[in-house]
């Protein structure tokens, strides 16, 4: 039988294991580990509302970004345009299923599941009622978080733009702006989300 001993006023630093005590009140600003400087706690005002709004915006942008081509190329009589999914499809066609799957995961499935998952978790919390299975979903989100690489993909678009711009006529498609905006919105959402707060609200032991 596991027993809970400490309130969240004491945290073990994840980088050096030192026990740090957090002030019981007034947690504004960023608190760092006394020994190694790792960030222990960041103040995130109005986290629930802001996260929810930003994630919803991100999801909408994500759908737009994937529905339309982000780049098209024209050279003489030939023209071609591509979305993320057609790129994946092309790799699959070229007998590179592993690579296709990796890109599908990191740029589509994982970001999508994270956004949908967070909406699933955070929306019921607005009504102070944890969603069923929310703990598992949130753990999944935290574990897969380094594998969502949309902003890296965005950089890839920019590099491809430069590389091909010299060879042929490249026209950025409607999705480019959606992708660009998406990056900022996702960054803002990550910044607004307060995981310790979410865990406190999901705590069923109260």
């Amino acid at each position: 039988m596991n027993a809970r001993l400490f309130s969240m006023d004491i945290l073990a630093c994840k980088d050096c294991d030192l026990l740090n005590s957090l002030p019981a009140t007034d947690r504004r600003g960023t608190l760092i580990c006394a020994r190694c400087g790792a960030v222990l706690h960041r103040h995130r005002p109005d986290s629930l509302n802001r996260s929810l709004a930003l994630i919803l915006a991100a999801l909408i942008l994500f759908v737009i970004a994937n529905s339309f081509p982000f780049l098209s190329i024209r050279s003489g009589a030939f023209s071609q345009e591509t979305t993320l999914l057609t790129g994946v499809g092309e790799l699959w066609r070229q007998q590179l299923p592993g690579l296709a799957l990796l890109i599908l995961l990191t740029c589509f499935l994982i970001p999508l599941s994270q956004m949908v998952g967070l909406l699933y978790i955070l929306t019921p919390l607005k009504w102070r009622h944890p969603a069923p299975g929310a703990r598992h979903v949130f753990r999944f989100i935290q574990h897969t978080s380094p594998w969502g690489m949309m902003e890296v993909f965005m950089l890839g678009i920019l590099v491809a733009l430069v590389k091909l711009g010299k060879l042929a006529t490249i026209v950025p498609g409607p999705s480019v702006f959606a992708f660009g905006l998406l990056i900022f919105v996702v960054a803002a959402a990550v910044s607004a989300l307060d995981p310790p707060l979410v865990w406190e609200k999901l705590d069923r032991r109260r």
């Binding site: 026990l19 790129g87 070229q94 690579l99 380094p146 678009i157």
Partner: protein
């Protein structure tokens, strides 16, 4: 270093990797789980040194074909050109696109190499119980973990090129064998960084006394 520093492990406390809750468990419980979020609890990342070492070794071996083999094969009007990561960078420089050349050079050549060297170095310092600047070494680890995923950029560039440049006989690009090897290097080094437990750096300092 202050050997009186109070750590969770000294008190027999588990710090949950997912929800940061501190908890204690019965001694005869082989698989303790976090009472709040259900995550498996470990005092330290399991077999951190062994796993990290195995992973960086694998990545180091795969780094060779990733750079030696071509990453793209471009066919233009009957002519075929194989490009490795490095030859792509050189091409950008020759073309005057210094910014892009720098991005690809850093992301695809410097970062993976640096990750392998840094993780190898950190493993060595833990193995040989070094007391050299633990705070800086921890910062080095944080940097390594944060920056690794950006190496994937070249894979995405190849994906886009391959999807776009399908212009019949005028030009077609296909992904070369290096693409798979390079993707493997990035993925494996990401796992390697995740498996390394920076707390080990500080553990050896305490055992010093």
């Amino acid at each position: 270093m202050n050997h009186k520093a109070l750590t969770a492990r000294k008190l027999g406390l588990f710090s949950c990797e997912d929800c940061q809750l501190l908890s204690r468990t019965d001694r005869d419980n082989n698989r303790p789980c976090c009472p709040r979020c259900g995550a498996p609890l470990h005092l330290r990342k399991p077999q951190s040194i062994a796993r990290t070492l195995a992973l960086i070794t694998a990545a180091a071996l795969l780094y060779i074909p990733a750079n030696v083999l071509p990453i793209t094969v471009t066919a233009t009007l009957g002519d075929q050109q194989n490009d490795t990561i490095l030859s792509g960078v050189i091409y950008f420089i020759g073309d005057g696109s210094w910014g892009v050349a720098l991005v690809i050079f850093v992301a695809s050549i410097i970062i993976p190499l640096a990750k392998l060297l840094i993780l190898g170095y950190l493993l060595a310092t833990v193995k040989f119980r070094s007391a050299w600047r633990p705070r800086d070494r921890t910062a080095l680890y944080r940097l390594t973990e944060a920056v690794g995923r950006w190496s994937m950029v070249d894979i995405y560039v190849v994906t886009i090129l391959v999807a776009l440049v399908k212009l019949g006989a005028v030009a077609t690009i296909e992904a070369g064998p290096a693409a798979g090897y390079f993707a493997a290097v990035v993925v494996i080094t990401m796992f390697a960084a995740r498996n390394f437990d920076p707390r080990l750096i500080w553990d050896v300092l305490e055992e010093e006394r």
